[in-house]
């Protein structure tokens, strides 16, 4: 199974790249990674959604959890690159403004 995400460090900023389909089948693996990221309390994290092709409500829940976790420790989180079906879902849920998409 294709790993749906990748965590990299880019100039001291954590970058989480989410790929392919983030859904009920793939979100649990990402949720584990998200717990680790939140625990590390990064100052700044960017979530790259430019290669995310499909998302369902489980995937959205995982991203919301990350957003809340980072913000609750005073960190900065930015989302970038959402398009097509994922962007339509974020807009529908009015998360495009919160996520600053």
């Amino acid at each position: 199974m294709l790993t749906p995400y990748e965590v990299t460090l880019d100039n001291n900023a954590t970058v989480l790249t989410v790929r392919g389909s983030l859904d009920i089948n793939t979100a649990p693996a990402l949720a584990e990674e998200i717990d680790k990221i939140i625990e590390a309390k990064p100052d700044k994290i960017t979530v790259d959604l430019s290669t995310l092709e499909l998302i369902d409500s489980s995937g959205v829940a995982a991203l919301v959890k990350l957003y809340k976790g980072i913000r609750s420790t005073g960190g900065n989180i930015g989302f970038s690159g959402a398009k097509d079906q994922p962007l339509a879902i974020f807009k529908l849920l009015r998360m495009d403004r919160v996520f600053d998409l």
Binding site: A61, D84, Q85, L92, L93, R94, M95, V98
Partner: protein, 165 residues
Amino acid sequence: MHEKVPERIWLTIPGALRYRAVAVRVVAEAARLVSGSARHDEHDLDEHDVRDPFDTAVVSAFMEIFNNVAIHAYHRDEAGRIEITITTRERELIIELADTGTPFDPRKVPELPNATELDIAALPEGGMGLHIAKSMLDDVSYQPGPPNKWRLAKRLPPTTQIARS
């Protein structure tokens, strides 16, 4: 253009999340047959897959309803089946699902609170599925059973050009 005779696809699969990809592929292709974005390219149900807004809406809604049946009606036990009937018309797609799992009363499901820019805590981490399905489609109805029956319908907006003849 004459009204096309409705055509049907019947698909029955185990009510397990593992099989969702099978169903989503069929639903996506049926959506493309209606929206005119079909490419007759079996290799290419891919990243460019659900770009058309009609296809996007149908696939997004269907994924949520399927998840719910596998999780809430069948409690992830993978024992039951899901019967899916897809009807393609000239400008409309109708998807019916039937399952023999636990029924529920949709009126008792709380509404999704509205997320606002500054109210981070109000961002939902669940309960979005039915909202997504209802918002994306023209019609979502549920009839408790067994068998429990879902009916999802989406019409092409009048402005959309039909690409195929």
